[in-house]
Amino acid sequence: MKEATKINSYLTFKLRDEIFGASVAKVLNILEMIKITKVPKAPVYMKGVINLRGSVLPLIDTRIKFDMGETVYTDNTCILVLDIEIAGETVHVGALVDSVQEVIEIDDADIQPSPSIGSKYKSEFIDGMVKIDNDFIMLLNMDLIFSTSEITLLRESSGDTQVEVETRV
């Protein structure tokens, strides 16, 4: 039995040409690009901090996490303000994405488990896949993605040596 209150709305966004979905319950806000203050000596995916109505919001380059190179800023580049749970604590974090698409309703029954082979990314970061029209959308586990200090979410078997031992921030 699924919980009756489970929200099936997803916000879809693009990184390069791939489409991803995040549960809208996790997204507090969508911001246009504003001035970023860089923090020296930080890991490469930690873009810096921004001023979010008087508080300091750390910013993560989502593309680096997905091994797509640093984000190239365009007019469509957005910041998703996310509500992330790290070790039982709620933390706000900003995620840089190439563009925001739309909010879609997805029936639980349409969600297919993430394929255990063939996917570039570690399966624990992907909640499932869904096919809309001709696009496959990866539904992401935002809590996990934005709380791990792994630089990328690639499978270790994919030959990328950048992956560190998983330690929670």
Binding site: T37, P40, K41, A42, M46, V49, G54, V56, L57, V169
Partner: protein, 686 residues
């Protein structure tokens, strides 16, 4: 509602218990000190009264017994003995336990209750026997009537006294129980019915009391309303004036006229009266003891700490907004606006300092616990130790004090257990049998330094070294300085105690102390001389949320460097900074090593003729940090960078500038340490 009162009582009672404990420990040093005995008695009395009022009957009953004992002490009929103090201190602990579960009758608590009560009663009985004999001899000498003294009590309750649940009539009744009493209500302040508020008390009393009791028993009646009334108690005669018809006539006159007679007039009257009636020489009524609550203006109030936190937040916001105003005014250039902005800046700075002053509390507040710990533990370990504290009025943020107590307790336990030797060993070493632990607190710039030193056995660096090698923390051939070896005690999993005792060595060690102190942005250091003693030095920030800093810029990013560490700022030619192989620059004829921040942060060098070098204090050295430009002084409201940046130690937080830009607050100590380490490792690789 009731729960609210109870909560309040528990809060107050906890304070009374603390005060009691403190006073008892002081009394131990000074057993005949009258004011101290009074303080002990007062605390007990308040506990008893409050307990009875709010349904904590066991506390009330228990304290009553204690109070009886100290009443004897107060009247000089019993001495403050060690036995009594031990018993009272045990009782204080028991009271704490009772306070936590007064209603539940857990067996151990009840057994303790009965046991302590019995012991107290034994002491009291021993005391009272003495009292009885003293009493009898007096009674043989004098008649009861002549022993009575007449007091004139002016009792003017505040209008609001009934709001606290006090009924003034009961107080008068209580006075009447003390002896022969005439109470005259003065009702001329009662307003007309239209203005009459039934919740208010409009009546004053003139009370004439002939009693054998002393003045203390009279003021005790008013002990709970001290702050809610004007009270004057004067001794007007050594005889019972209420048997004198002329005096009673005078009282009737007062009653009819409804005028407070006043002490001066009354004195005159009595003088004439005594002269007339008895023609005896008057002894003079100079021994007037007056207790005037009027002079005791309220010196402190109780405020919930979340209200304070809220105040602090608002002040922080105000400081941020003020920075914005100043910036705007400067850009705008209107002289009038500038003047206003300057004024606002001045005011908000004062407001900030004031608000921060409110949450600062003297470290004195945590000392009682330490004194108690040293007292109990030294007895248990059969060691003789005195605990002394200096600079107890040094103030710290309350949150810092809260998080400091545990580490300090741990340090003290270590000193007692491993530091101070047994008396015999101390004598053999040629030291006084009594060990000494000194807690010294003082200000040092924007920091507070706490030093805990003992004159015990000190730390044997050879043992530490051996232990570290055994645990694989260092290699056997590692060449370490003494300081480096001593610092090993802060490494997790390091405990030198050869046998783990109940006291220290419970698995938590100095590493926990270090971490807890680091959590409040403090640093801890150790110094030790074998057989001379050990000193732990804790350096703490005064407050956690606002710092005075210098705003600087490196490329596009603003940084705030705490003013407290800054020594001097120099303008240095660009070439001198970039064309150097060992990162040393000569400033004021002195060689100063420096770090070029652009280089450290992996940014291309700045193409300019002059750059700014900020010289900061790092440990005991001066180190330069080269930045692009210095903007000016800035009050930074610290905001956390969040969990994601926890590992970036060189940045301790961020602050938002007037125009909304974020500036990063640099922790220069950590930054320099990190830069220096990096330089070392790269050299090693060569």
């Amino acid at each position: 509602m009731i729960d609210n009162f109870k909560k309040k009582f528990i809060e107050e009672a906890t304070e009374h218990i603390q005060d009691l404990e403190q006073a008892l420990l002081e009394l131990e040093q000074n057993p005949t000190n009258k004011p101290l005995i009074e303080r002990v008695f007062r605390a007990m009395h308040s506990l008893k009264g409050g307990g009875a009022m709010f349904g904590f009957e066991k506390i009330s009953e228990f304290t009553h017994n204690l109070e009886t004992a100290y009443d004897l002490v107060r009247n000089g009929e019993m001495e403050v003995t060690n036995e009594l103090l031990n018993l009272t201190l045990a009782s204080v602990d028991h009271l704490g336990a009772l306070l936590n579960d007064d209603s539940s009758n857990s067996e151990s608590v009840m057994a303790q209750n009965a046991d302590l009560m019995k012991k107290i009663n034994e002491l009291v009985t021993a005391g009272t026997v003495k009292k009885k004999t003293v009493h009898n001899t007096i009674e043989i000498d004098e008649e009861i009537n002549t022993k009575s003294q007449t007091y004139y009590i002016q009792f003017q309750p505040n209008e609001d006294i009934m709001r606290n649940g006090t009924n003034p009539i009961f107080l008068i009744d209580e006075l009447q129980s003390l002896g022969n009493c005439v109470a005259i209500p003065i009702v001329n302040k009662i307003p007309t019915l239209d203005d009459f508020d039934p919740n208010k008390c409009y009546i004053n009393w003139e009370v004439f009391l002939a009693t054998e009791s002393n003045i203390n028993s009279i003021t005790d009646v008013f002990i709970f309303v001290e702050d809610d009334c004007l009270l004057q108690v004067n001794l007007i005669s050594d005889t019972n004036l209420l048997t004198n018809q002329l005096f009673l006539d005078k009282l009737e006159e007062i009653n009819v006229n409804q005028h407070e007679i006043g002490i001066a007039q009354l004195q005159d009257f009595i003088t004439s009266l005594t002269a007339l009636e008895t023609k005896q020489s008057n002894k003079g009524k100079d021994e007037r003891i007056s207790l005037s609550s009027k002079d005791q203006t309220i010196s402190s109030i109780r405020v919930a700490s979340d209200k304070l936190d809220q105040l602090m937040n608002l002040v922080s916001e105000l400081v941020t907004t003020q920075a914005r105003l100043t910036l705007y005014a400067e850009n705008d250039g209107q002289t009038e606006l500038l003047a206003i902005a300057e004024n606002v800046q001045k005011l908000s700075r004062q407001l900030r300092d004031n608000a921060f002053g409110i949450v600062l509390i003297p470290i004195e507040n945590m000392l009682t616990r330490f004194q108690r710990l040293v007292r109990d533990l030294s007895k248990e370990l059969k060691k003789e130790v005195v605990f002394e504290a200096e600079g107890t009025d040094t103030e710290l943020d309350k949150t810092i004090i809260e998080s400091l107590t545990d580490p300090l307790m741990h340090i003290l336990r270590n000193s007692l257990d491993h530091g101070i030797e047994l008396p015999q060993i101390r004598k053999n070493k040629g030291k006084p049998a009594e060990g000494r632990i000194l807690l010294k607190a003082f200000y040092s710039g924007a920091n507070v330094i706490l030093q805990i030193s003992d004159d015990g056995s000190g730390i044997d660096v050879n043992i530490i070294r051996a232990k570290a090698i055994q645990k694989g923390l260092i290699s056997p051939d590692a060449a370490l300085t003494k300081k480096e070896i001593l610092d090993l005690i802060f490494i997790p999993g390091f405990s030198t105690a050869t046998n783990i005792t109940d006291v220290s060595g419970r698995g938590v060690g100095m590493d926990v102390v270090k971490r807890k102190i680091a959590d409040i942005r403090g640093e801890v250091d150790v110094e030790s001389e074998l057989n001379m003693g050990t000193t732990l030095i804790i350096k703490l920030p005064l407050t956690l949320s606002i710092i005075d800093g210098l705003l600087v810029k490196v490329e596009e990013t603003f940084y705030v460097i705490p003013l407290s560490v800054i020594d001097k700022i120099y303008a240095v030619e660009h070439s001198k900074l970039t064309n150097t192989f060992n990162n040393v620059v000569v400033l004021d004829g002195e060689q100063v090593s420096f770090f070029y921040l652009r280089h450290e942060f992996e940014i291309a060098p700045f193409d300019t003729a002059y750059e700014q070098v900020i010289v900061v204090n790092y440990e005991d050295k001066r180190v330069g940090l080269a930045v692009d430009t210095v903007i000016g002084e800035y009050q930074a409201v610290l905001k956390p960078l969040g969990k994601h940046y926890k590992k970036q130690e060189i940045i301790s937080g961020a602050t938002i500038l007037g125009d909304g830009t974020i500036a990063l607050v640099m922790d220069t100590n950590k930054a320099i340490k990190q830069f220096a380490n990096k330089t070392l490792t790269t050299e090693d690789h060569k």
